[in-house]
């Protein structure tokens, strides 16, 4: 080591400044977590636009989404179910949908008290 060694405490000035600086963290859940608008959170489903092509189900890596037509082919009644516990929030279903009836929201408050409550209808 050819460098001239200083006394320990190079960080002291920075440390003292930080004592009076505002915290880098937020007071969650009271503070604003500032989630970006294009965050990949809870999925939103627009049933009337769905054509039941099932591309989302086919491409889902974790088999988390299920599309069901409770009506007839002529008179469809589309429903989408998501197993939030299985979903990895990659949003490939959003990209795969040819009619853009699936979209991601920036809702991240998805915790529930039981596993059953994690299977939700979109």
């Amino acid at each position: 080591m050819k460098k001239k060694l200083h006394l320990p405490g190079e960080l002291a000035g920075q440390a003292i400044r930080n004592v009076f600086a505002k915290p880098a963290t937020i007071d969650y859940p009271h503070g604003d977590p500032s989630i970006p608008a294009n965050y990949r959170g809870r999925l939103v489903y627009d049933a009337p636009r769905c054509i039941n092509c099932l591309m989302c189900m086919r491409d889902c890596p974790s088999k988390a989404i299920r599309i069901e037509n409770r009506g007839t082919k002529e008179n469809p009644d589309m429903h989408a179910y998501l197993n939030v516990a299985r979903c990895i929030f990659c949003c490939q279903c959003v990209d795969s949908c040819p009619k853009k009836c699936l979209s991601a929201s920036n809702d991240i408050l998805l915790a529930r008290l039981s596993r059953d409550e994690l299977s939700v209808e979109l």
């Binding site: 080591m1 060694l5 200083h6 970006p36 294009n38 086919r58 491409d59 990659c90 949003c91 795969s96």
Partner: protein, 408 residues
């Protein structure tokens, strides 16, 4: 702790051996000095290569993204490039630039994380807090680009999934300005802070000849003066247009690896600025086919921890026939025992942490114990031996037709 021949054998791990991932080290101690170290990995085997082979290419993209919790973009970049090369896709320039920007942001957050972990390992928790605070700014940018902090999901076959808006470009520029100031401060700190220098210098030594012997990659090799940066020796994507200033050091120890990583962060900031400035207009992706033509390919990408190698073989369907991922840590493990031997027990955590190991990336190997030597067999000979082995167990597999694949 057990005693054998007057030496202590100290088991470290598999729970939390310096880093919060499972790995076991059997350290034979002569007093305080490590005489022998045996590394045992394999606690975090996830079968991800097999999982990839039973899913479509599109689904595999998200498994590959989760190979590593830090270098998720490097892995998907390599996998996407494999598929794009096999399909003959020409990725738009704008997409290559966005991939480059996200890749360098990833390098920044990986190295900042490492610097914090290394500082924590040597009891310098102030630096740990500062670097992780700064890392959050980078993660916020990645979340704004991709929609997630760690698994950005930016890459797709034929380009990227998310475009960069002008406001976001301006915001990334502002974050880079703030970060560069902090990084320069950390670099100055690394050069003058005696606690840091004294604690990191002269430990975990791996000289250039040892680097070649153990095939170490990434900052471990570069700290020994060996330039193995894939962005320089085999430029890909945006790095064909924008030259990277390689960083090497000649300390060959943990201090050298720290210097290399801090300098690389400053270089990443410069690269991001250049890429943001020269970001071309145009489309961000081209349509990729679902079926990938038959063939095989091997692609190298520079992940934050070093050279990341992906091998993909396709038989012409929508699922790969074989996927092999050689994460950088897998290359760096081989020299670990050598790096530990001869140094004090107190240095073990920081020497392990200095290669920036990622255990779950690596755990794919099967270790044979008491295998009884080795021999080389031709494919037909191997198949005959296999059939004989099963016949001795009362099972006759000779009637099974193998899937044909053009070899050679």
């Amino acid at each position: 702790m057990s005693e054998r021949d007057g030496k202590f054998v100290l088991p470290i791990g598999p729970q939390h051996p310096s880093l919060k991932e499972p790995c076991s080290f059997k350290i034979t101690l002569d007093g305080e000095v490590v005489e022998k170290a045996v590394v045992e990995i394999g606690y975090n085997h996830r079968g991800l290569e097999k999982a990839c082979e039973s899913r479509t290419f599109v689904q595999d993209l998200y498994i590959i993204e989760r190979v590593c919790g830090i270098c998720s973009h490097a892995h998907t970049s390599a996998f996407c490039r494999c598929v794009e090369e096999m399909c003959g896709l020409l990725v738009p320039r704008r997409a290559e630039y966005i991939r480059g920007i996200v890749g360098e942001l990833e390098r920044l957050h990986s190295h900042l994380l490492w610097l914090g972990v290394a500082a924590h390992e040597i009891g310098f928790d102030t630096l740990f807090m500062y670097t992780w605070r700064d890392r959050e700014r980078v993660l916020d940018m990645l979340a704004a680009i991709g929609g997630n902090r760690i698994n950005y999901g930016v890459n797709t076959f034929g380009g990227v999934r998310r475009d960069l808006e002008p406001e976001l470009i301006a915001e990334i520029g502002r974050v880079m300005d703030a970060l560069e100031e902090k990084l320069k401060y950390y670099f100055e700190l690394a050069l003058v802070e005696p606690a840091l220098i004294g604690r990191l210098s002269g430990i975990g030594i791996l000289r250039p000849e040892d680097v070649r012997r153990f095939s170490a990659v990434g900052p471990v090799a570069r700290a020994a003066g060996i330039m193995d940066d894939t962005r320089i020796i085999e430029p890909y994507g945006v790095f064909r247009e924008i030259a990277v200033n390689g960083v090497t050091d000649d300390h060959c120890d943990v201090y050298g690896r720290t210097i290399v990583r801090v300098k690389e962060m400053l270089e990443s900031v410069r690269l991001i600025r250049v890429m943001l400035r020269e970001l071309p207009d145009g489309p961000i992706s081209v349509k990729a086919p679902r079926r990938v033509p038959a063939g095989e390919i091997l692609i190298r990408v520079e992940a934050p921890r070093g050279e990341d190698i992906h091998y993909v073989r396709s038989t012409g369907g929508d699922m790969p026939d074989r996927v092999r991922v050689r994460a950088p840590t897998e290359a760096n493990w081989h020299g670990m025992s050598y790096m530990l031997e001869g140094f004090h027990l107190a240095d073990v955590p920081i020497i392990i942490a200095a290669i920036d190991p990622c255990y779950s990336c690596t755990d794919r190997a099967v270790r044979l114990t008491d295998a009884g030597g080795s021999s080389l067999h031709a494919w037909e000979e191997l198949r005959r031996l296999g059939i004989e082995r099963y016949q001795s167990l009362g099972i006759d597999p000779s009637g099974i037709r193998l899937r044909e694949f053009p070899r050679g």
